[in-house]
Amino acid sequence: MNKSAESIALNLIRRNFNIKNDDNKPLIALAGNPNTGKSTIFNGLTGLRQHTGNWPGKTVNRAEGYYRYKGREFLLIDLPGTYSLLANSTEELIARDFICFARPDITLVVADATNLERNLNLALQVLELSTNTVLVMNLMDEAERKGIKIDVKKLESCLQIPVIPAVARDGKGLEEIKKTCYRIIREGIKFKGIQMSYSREIEEKIAGLIPVLQRNLTFLEDKINWRWLALRLLEGDKTILYSISTYFPVYREAVNIIQKGDVQLDGVN
C-alpha cells in the first residue's frame, strides 16, 4: 500500500473510536494510572479546545481536544485511567484497543512520581504495544516534598524513551511535552523502547506462534505488533480476537462464531 492509502485505511479504523481526523493531525494518546493528574495535563495542553462524551457504545467518559504548537495542530485523546492493559475492565479494554488499533502517533504515559514502581508497570505494557511512547513523570513536587528523588536520565536510559518531569498543576513540563512531541513528528523519530523478555519457555512459544499468526492474519501485516498479539493469545486473553474482528470485519453474521469474550463483569446474573 502506498502512503496515502495507508493513512486512509488507518483513518477508517480510527473512525471506530469516533476520531474524525481527515486533515491528518498527529494523534497523541494520554494513558496513565488513575489519580496521576492525567486530566490536568490534558486540560493544560488543550485548554478550552476540547469536547467530552462517551466512548462509542460504552458508558466510559471520553475527552478529545487539540492544541497548536509552532503552527502545527495536534489531536489529543484522553484514555481512561487504568493500572494495566490486560483488558480486565471496560476501561482497560478501551485503552488497549485504542493504542493497539487506532495506533496513535505518540502515546504519552503519565506517571505518578511518588509511586514510580506501580506506574512503570503500565508504561512497560504500553511499550510492549508501541515504542512511540513518552513517559511524563507528573507530581514531581509531591515526590520532592516526600523526599523522593528520581534520576530522570537514568530512567530514560533504562526505558530507552524520553522521560519528561512535570508538575501539571502548575503548568510545569507542558512546554517540554509539546516540544518533544513536535520534534518526534517533524523528524520522524523512533525510539527503541525497552522490551520485556520472558522465560525461555514463553519466548519459544512466542517465536513459534508468530509465523502462524503472520500466515493467517495477513491483513494485519504492519498493523499490529506480532509479538504482543502472540503473548495475548498465549495468556488466554478472551477479548483480543474479538477486537480484531471488530476493527477488521469481514461480514457481520459470520462474526458470531468468534467468541465475544466479554470483559468479566463480576456479580452479574
Binding site: 512503570l120 469481514v250 459470520a254
Partner: protein, 479 residues
Amino acid sequence: MELIKGNLSGDGLNKDGLSPGNYLIIMENLKNFIPPEKQEEIRDQIVGDIFREAEKIARKSIISTGIENKLEKRIDDILTSRWLGFPIMLLLLGFIFWITIVGANVPSEMLATALFWLEEKISILFYRLGTPDWLHGILVHGIYRTMAWVISVMFPPMAIFFPLFTLLEDLGYLPRVAFNLDNLFKRAGTHGKQALTMSMGFGCNAAGVISARIIDSPREKLIAIITNNFVPCNGRFPLLIILASIFIKSSLSTTYNSLLAATVVVAFVLIGIIITLLVSWGLSRTILRGIPSTFTLELPPYRKPQIGRILVRSFLDRTLFVLGRAVMVAAPAGAVIWLLANTTINGSSLIQLVAAFLEPFARLIGLDGFILLAFILALPANEIVIPILLMGYLSSRIMMEPESLETLHNILINNGWTWLTAIATMLFSLLHFPCGTTLLTIRKETGSFKWAFFTFFLTTAIAVLVNLILVQFINFFIL
C-alpha cells in the same frame, strides 16, 4: 463456506479481516502451543515478569526513597480505623453544618431586608406606571417574591456550606469516607464503589447517578442509581439546615441550640445512609439478586487544597449553579402559585382547594396540604420547596413582610407547625422522589423510563411509609 462473500483465497481465509476460517485455524494452532488450562499460568508469569521488571527499573532510577510518609499513614490509620473512622466522619460533617447554621443567620436577615425593601420600591414604580393589578401581582407578588425568598433563604447557607464541603473533597477525605463505608455496602450485597457514588450524591444526585458508571456490573450499578436519592443533595441540604436551625430549640444558650441543630442534620444524613443500605440490601435480595463483586480501593494521597480554586469553583459550580437552577424554576412556580392563590371558585382560592384536597393524606404523614403541594410543585428542583411553601402560606392568608429566619419561624408557627411537622418535612425531603433532573438522568443512564419510574415510586413509597410510621408512632405514644 462457499457462500461467504469477500476476498477469499482457496483455503477459506480472508485477506481483509478476521473470518471464522482465520479464527478457527488460529485457535487450533494455539492449542498446540499452549493447552487452555495452562494459559492462566502463563498469564501469571507474564504479569509477574512485568512487575519484577518495573521494580528493577524503579530501584535503579530512584536515588532516594524519601522519609517514608509516616504522618500520612498515621492519619489514614485514624481516619479509617474501625472504631474512630465513623465518629470522626460524623463529627466533621457536624462541624461543617454547625458553621453553616451559625454563619447563615445574619446575612440571611440582611438579604431579606434588602430584597423586600426593593420589592416595595418596585411596587411603587408599578403603581406610578399605572400597571394593572393582576400584572403587578404576577410579577411582583408571584415571581419577584419567590425569587427573593430563594435568594435570601438559600444563598447564605450555600455560600458557607459549599466551600467547606469542597474543601473536604479537595483534601482527599471523600475516598476515606468510601473506605469506611465499603464494607457495609458489601454486606448489603452491592459493590463497594457504591460508597463513592453515594458520596457524589451529597453533591448532586444527578451527578451521583452519572458517577455510577464506575460500577461495571449492571446489577450493582442499578442499585447504586436507584438508591442514590436517599442522601441529601446540595439542593436539599439548605432545607434540612434551615428547618433544623429554626425548630430545634431549647431553653439553653444559642450556641447549644446551633450545636443541637447541627447534630440533627448529621442524624438525617445518617438516616439517609442507613436507608440507602437497607434498600440496597432489599434490592440485592429481591429483584436485583446477585453476589457482590470485589474491587481495590486506592486511597489517594492527601493533597494541599487550593483555597482560591475552591472558593471560585464552589461558588461558580455549586452555589451559582444551584441558585440559578432554583431561581429559574422558582420564577414560573411563583407565577403559578400566585395564579392559584388569586383564582377563586366559590369564594376560596384554587390553592386552598388543592391544599385542602391534599390535606387529609398529608396529615397522615405529618405534613399539611401546602407542604405536600410544595413538594409536588418543586419536582423540577428540590431547592424551591421552602420558597414555594412560604408563597403558598403567605398568598392565601394575611400578607406579612418576612424579614428574617425569626419571621420565617413565625410564619410556620402561625400555620400550625410543630417540631414534629419540621421533622416530618425534613424526613420527607430526604426520602421522597428525586428531582426532575435526576429522574431524567436515570432514564439516560439506564436507557429506559422503566427504572426512572421505578425509582420514583420506590422512593416515594418509602418516604410515605417511613413518615407514616414515625408520625403515628409519635402521636400515639408521645403527644
